[in-house]
């Protein structure tokens, strides 16, 4: 029947024509269209990929630098802290030494003063002893002139004075 013939029939002429048309289109497009388009596309993709890579690299580089900076800063801070601590310690040491030396000096001065006092005291005792002896002798002379001979009196007074000197050291600390 007519309808079936028109829908399903083979038309060799059309097949020949269409093969030519399609093949020509394919060849022309392959040469003048698909080639440039696909190469341009892959070129652009490559460009994008490389620039992405580069950006990634730059990012990681800058991150690394930042990290480095932070590290350096941290280290500097630590250094500063350490310096400060050292300085403080040193100052402490110096202060301690100073204090010690002052103490020592004070002790020395005190010692010297003590010795001076002791010396003065000895000197005073000496002079006192002499004075007392003289006084005693004077007094004794006076007494002797009245009661006794001189020789006996003298021995008596020496004995008294000896007893005085031996008593002396016991008396100083309390003074």
């Amino acid at each position: 029947m007519l309808l079936g013939a028109s829908l399903l029939s083979a038309n060799v002429g059309l097949i020949v024509w269409l093969s030519i048309v399609f093949l020509t289109t394919l060849l022309i497009l392959r040469k003048y269209a698909w080639g440039p388009i696909t190469s341009a596309l892959s070129e652009r993709e490559a460009t994008i990929a490389t620039s992405l890579n580069r950006a990634e690299e730059a990012l990681s580089e800058s991150k690394r630098l930042q990290e480095q900076n932070a590290q350096a800063k941290r280290e500097a801070e630590q250094e500063a802290q350490k310096l400060l601590r050292d300085a403080r310690e040193e100052a402490q040491v110096i202060r301690d030494q100073e204090a010690q030396r002052t103490q020592e000096e004070i002790a020395l001065i005190r010692e010297q003063a003590k010795q001076e006092i002791e010396r003065d005291k000895q000197r005073a005792l000496q002079s006192l002893r002499k004075e007392v002896a003289d006084l005693a002798i004077l007094a004794a002379e006076k007494v002797l002139q009245e009661n006794l001979d001189g020789a006996r009196q003298h021995a008596l007074i020496d004995r008294f004075i000896d007893g005085l000197t031996s008593q002396e050291p016991n008396q100083t600390p309390s003074a």
Partner: protein, 361 residues
């Protein structure tokens, strides 16, 4: 916004009704299959038909092969060298009847028979060939223009600019990344990309041309789809790896008896793939048109059967469904182009593959 939409809808409805109406009144019989099948004329229905040149290669015992070119079927019949043979009764019309035949408009369905010799090859231009050529021309204009933009540097290093470039680049990248690369692998994808791209856009353009007023769908012709499928078939077999052929002629991992059973199956399988490819495309595109024409035809059938009132009442329903099927056809135009291309890529990829037998099957 709303009035514009309304007028657009009205215009579409008029465009849809007008040709069909005149067709129905012209021939008194609505023939959907005839409308969607091939012919030796361009159909500008309300205005008329433009006949296409007839080119015949004629073989006769006296003069050998001869080429006859006529500007139209009419002039071929009037030339006195060609007789018209009507296909329904098979009897030959006399040359005296030619004018009557031309006036009845049935001469376009006639088979041309030369008075002496036989037709060796009928290279006549047909409606579908014209639309295939149109599609091919559109492809050339679009993609050579697109390629020029790329060679000018737009899109080569910078982003693509404009609707035109962005639209087609998306499609090209889609074919490359979603059709070629997954099925062929990165290594072979670029080699077959030109064919896949051409097939995809050619089919898509042909499909879409069928939705244009006065257009015809070249891909709803079995000959056209057969040619496209043959290209895929040839590419598949030419690039078939050793593995591919071994699978066909000596399927590994089977007992010998089963092998002899499998060989014919495999050989048939080689051919069913492209045949299915051709028939799928043809049937999908034809079916859509037949459905649209049947829906439109429903108006006239019902008004014939039950009177004009019912006929007019059916119009909105019929047009609504037609609009829906039109959208479906738009979808199918893309899906079928995609499926043809992806199956081509799949078949070529399967033939290319050098798969190891431990993991296959």
């Amino acid at each position: 916004m709303r009035p514009i939409n309304f007028f657009l809808a009205l215009f579409c409805a008029l465009v849809l009704i007008f040709p069909s109406e005149s067709m129905a009144s012209d021939e008194d019989e609505f023939d959907a299959v005839h409308h969607s099948s091939d012919g030796y004329y361009l159909d500008f229905l309300p205005i008329g038909k433009v006949e296409l040149p007839r080119i015949l290669i004629i073989r006769s015992d006296l003069t050998g092969y001869g080429l006859r070119v006529y500007p139209s079927t009419k002039s071929a019949l009037r030339s006195g060298e060609i007789l018209a043979e009507m296909p329904d009764d098979g009897h030959q019309e006399n040359t005296e009847d030619v004018e009557a035949l031309i006036n009845s408009g049935k001469h376009l369905d006639a088979k041309l028979v030369p008075i002496e010799g036989t037709v060796f090859l009928d290279l006549s231009i047909t409606k579908h060939l014209i639309f295939a050529l149109l599609a091919s021309g559109i492809l050339l204009v679009i993609f050579i223009g697109l390629a020029r933009r790329y060679t000018q540097g737009i899109g080569r290093t910078t982003a693509p600019r404009g609707i035109f470039q962005n639209l087609f680049e998306t499609l090209v990248v889609f074919v490359r990344d979603d059709i070629a690369v997954p099925n062929l692998g990165k290594k072979h994808a670029l080699r077959f990309l030109p064919y896949l791209l051409t097939a995809f856009f050619f089919i898509l353009t042909c499909n879409l041309l069928g939705l244009v007023p006065f257009g015809a769908t070249a891909t709803s012709n079995l000959n056209v789809t057969a040619v496209l499928a043959t290209f895929t078939f040839v590419l598949t077999q030419v690039n078939g790896s050793k593995d591919h052929w071994r699978h066909v002629f000596w399927p590994p991992g089977m007992p010998v008896a089963v092998k002899f059973l499998l060989i014919p199956t495999e050989i048939i399988g080689l051919f069913t793939k492209p045949i299915a490819l051709a028939i799928r495309l043809f049937a999908n595109l034809t079916a859509g048109h037949l459905v649209i024409l049947s829906l439109i035809g429903m108006i006239f059938i019902l008004s014939d059967q039950f009177g004009n009132a019912i006929g007019y009442g059916v119009v909105p329903i019929s047009l609504g469904f037609t609009l829906f099927v039109m959208f479906l056809e738009l979808l199918i135009a893309f899906i079928q182009a995609y499926i043809f291309t992806i199956l081509s890529a799949l078949f070529i990829g399967m033939a290319l593959a050098d798969h190891s037998h431990s993991e296959a099957h």
